[in-house]
């Protein structure tokens, strides 16, 4: 399957998307069911992808997605625009729950073995081309490009922490690196990543 890369969009589109998300969240704060459904349709495919990637069990991933969206419903009024985009806020809730599930289950070894053959940038998802068009394809292109521009050793530690749910000490063990090296690579990588993503939005 060939990954479908959408045509680039104007940067202003990201602002419009974010404005729309914030409007949805305001309506959700007033218990607007239609707005909640729209938010779910818009981001559940991304949320499910993230949860599955971290926990690697579809049925647990589904629970995590449900919990995260319920939390969005219940805490919509608590969203602070100064703390980042709605989509990032939502994915952070998914990620926290996924990482918690991983740590609780204490079954990193098998997942790590699975992960060894999987690289976020290289893997072709079984989703078909139609599905690939979902979930903000422009954002996907931008984030992949930013990740791809990182030095491999920085990208590696970030992916292990974020996509595999490993703690810094587990990353250190896994790669056979001093903990200090893991931390410094993470810091350097995230600085670059953040700058690149900010640049994309300009």
């Amino acid at each position: 399957m060939t990954l479908v890369e959408p045509a680039p969009e104007a940067p202003v589109a990201a602002d419009l998307e974010e404005a729309r998300d914030r409007d949805l969240l305001r309506r959700i704060g007033r218990a607007d069911e239609d707005a909640f459904r729209e938010l779910f349709r818009r981001y559940s495919p991304n949320a499910m992808a993230l949860a599955r990637r971290v926990v690697r069990q579809p049925f647990i991933a589904e629970e995590i997605v449900q919990e995260a969206f319920l939390a969005a419903w219940r805490n919509a009024k608590g969203y602070n625009e100064g703390r980042g985009s709605v989509r990032s806020w939502l994915m952070t809730m998914v990620h926290h729950r996924a990482v918690d599930a991983v740590r609780r289950e204490e079954s990193q070894r098998r997942r790590t073995e699975d992960a060894q053959a999987e690289d976020v940038l290289a893997v072709e998802d079984p989703a078909d081309a139609v599905v690939a068009q979902l979930g903000l394809p422009e954002e996907r292109r931008a984030v992949r490009a930013a990740l791809g521009d990182l030095p491999a050793e920085q990208r590696q530690v970030i992916e292990l922490m974020y996509f595999d749910g490993l703690s810094q000490s587990k990353v250190s063990e896994r790669l056979g690196l001093p903990l200090g090296t893991v931390k410094s690579r993470t810091l350097l990588g995230m600085r670059r990543l953040r700058s690149a993503l900010i640049e994309v939005e300009r």
Binding site: N46, Q66, E105, V120, A132, V143, Q168, K183, T186, L193
Partner: protein
């Protein structure tokens, strides 16, 4: 007291979810020691917002995954009713499944036992995940039988909406689904469509209300879920356990 470089490193690791509990504790302690008047700490906290936003956006590097039909209604229903989500597996069951590879084909008795576990605490949306609480006396657990290795059992409570399914069935193409049927006399009544996961496992909540029925059946139908069965049953269940 640690320097700000150490604090910044941990703040960034935290944005990726990479802190161990003891690291989190130590970071918080250091921030307290530096005090509210530490301008560099305040700057780092502001920086953390940017890192957290960047980390959240990493999720979009993944190809989106198709979300099964029915999940949206399930989440919306739970939100509107202000109920916890329905968890269909116990911790023990999760551990078992985590260790499994490929299709999980278990004896029917084990399937029924797992249903018993998740039938716990059904009432008032207070489903719990404990292993040692009593099964509500009015919960019905039904075990299906068929000619293949497929296993399926369901639990429901007469008068309540919600049917919980667990088992292992052959995965089907996207245009096909399994459909549950109860019977009023000789007339089949739709109980809802469902699809197993990629590994064949079934952990499904159907937003349907079914009444005690002497016969239930499962057929393979088109994904449009017809209102009457179009194929012969692959699984049937008589009575309840």
């Amino acid at each position: 007291m640690r320097d700000h470089g150490w604090i910044e490193e941990l703040i960034v690791v935290r944005s990726l979810g990479g802190l161990d509990p003891q690291d989190e504790h130590e970071l918080n302690r250091e921030m307290v020691e530096h005090g509210a008047e530490c301008s560099e700490c305040r700057r780092l906290e502001a920086e953390y917002v940017g890192y957290e936003d960047a980390a959240g956006r990493l999720a979009f590097a993944l190809d989106p995954v198709w979300v099964r039909e029915g999940l949206e209604d399930q989440v919306v229903a739970a939100a509107i009713r202000d109920e916890p989500i329905v968890s269909v597996v116990s911790p023990a069951e999760r551990r078992e499944r985590r260790g499994a590879r490929g299709p999980v084909l278990r004896p029917l008795v084990a399937v029924a036992a797992s249903l018993v576990l998740f039938a716990i605490g059904w009432g008032a949306g207070a489903l719990t995940s404990g292993d040692d609480v009593a099964v509500p006396p009015d919960a019905r657990v039904v075990v299906f039988e068929g000619e293949s290795d497929a296993t399926l059992a369901l639990a429901y409570r007469p008068g309540d909406r919600g049917v919980y399914l667990v088992g292992s069935l052959d995965p089907r193409p996207e245009d096909l689904a399994y459909e549950l049927w109860t019977f009023r006399g000789d007339t089949p009544v739709r109980g809802g469509c469902f699809r197993p996961g990629a590994d064949g496992s079934v952990f499904e909540f159907l937003d349907a209300e079914i009444e005690p029925t002497p016969l239930m059946a499962v057929t393979v139908e088109s994904a449009s879920c017809p209102s009457a069965p179009t194929t012969d049953p692959i699984l049937i269940a008589q009575g309840s356990v």
